[in-house]
Symmetry: C2
């Protein structure tokens, strides 16, 4: 990810920052000014907002880690539902194992399941296979992006509408 | 999502299920057999694994909800870092508000911030704007998919390699 700060400030928020402040906030703009003074040609790639606090990782990596756990949960659900309908014995074994082991760490869960017994090992291999297939084939990545974007619009609109309704109500009340 | 069960069973796992079991587990296969018996033409759409337990939602929606919260966290970090460099007063106000309010529910956090004071309201509007811009422009969705897939391959390989090394070590020990 690019590491330069661009402030997405709309007209309504422009009150908060003065022009020279923006220059200070964005190292690229400051750099541009210095470069201009020294009359040297420069090319600037400054497209993304700087997100602090991820060290050597990135927000995408953190989200991928979370999804990795999520896919293990999903795979256990899928396998469990499949077994329920055609192999009650294996289903009961998996359910019993689930009652004794946390799924907070999906990889550890699979490692423990693999070492429980040869029968559990087959279940573990199946969960590994299903979570991989689910991640690569079944999970609708485009739909995820679409839903997240839609959710964002809806949530922002709702928050602003509620605030406006609330404050206009107060103003109407005080105006009586 | 399609709601039919397909079992991704590799050759190594075929021990677990007998043929008639598979037919019972997959309604589509059973349906196909019935249809064949009745000699009627049939077309089957059976591509995705059935994921139980999401009611009217979907795994994609659940993941989108999680990412929505995550984007609010990110937006607060971005805005906080921006303010730190050019508006210390607003930065201190946001930091102080953060110490008093949980960010578990991002929308509630923004709603509360909006109602704290007119100055906080400007910060809240900016967070709303930044989280939307981050979700739609900055977040690398393709990278997320690539990282999740890579993480899955690495985790599965590691789990299986560790298990094989562990068991082959035990066998070598017992063979001595």
């Amino acid at each position: 990810m690019e590491s330069c700060t661009i402030l997405p400030i709309s007209r309504s928020l422009s009150l908060l920052s003065r022009r020279h402040d923006r220059d200070e906030a964005c190292p690229c703009l400051a750099l541009l000014r210095v470069k201009r003074r020294s009359s040297q040609p420069t090319r600037i790639h400054c497209q993304k907002m700087y997100v602090p606090g991820f060290g050597e990782g990135s927000p995408e990596r953190k989200a991928a880690n979370h999804l990795h756990k999520f896919f293990t949960h999903i795979a256990v659900r899928i396998v469990s539902a499949q077994l329920q309908s055609y192999n009650r014995e294996a289903y009961d074994e998996l359910t019993e194992f689930l009652s004794r082991h946390s799924m907070n760490d999906g990889d550890k869960f699979c490692a423990d399941l693999m070492r429980e017994s040869p029968r559990h090992q087959i279940l573990a291999l199946r969960i590994l296979e299903v979570r991989s297939a689910y991640c690569k084939q079944d999970f609708e990545w485009d739909n995820l992006k679409r839903l997240a974007s839609k959710l964002m619009d809806e949530a922002n609109t709702t928050l602003m509408r509620e605030y406006v309704l609330e404050t206009s109500h107060v103003e109407t009340e005080s105006g009586k």
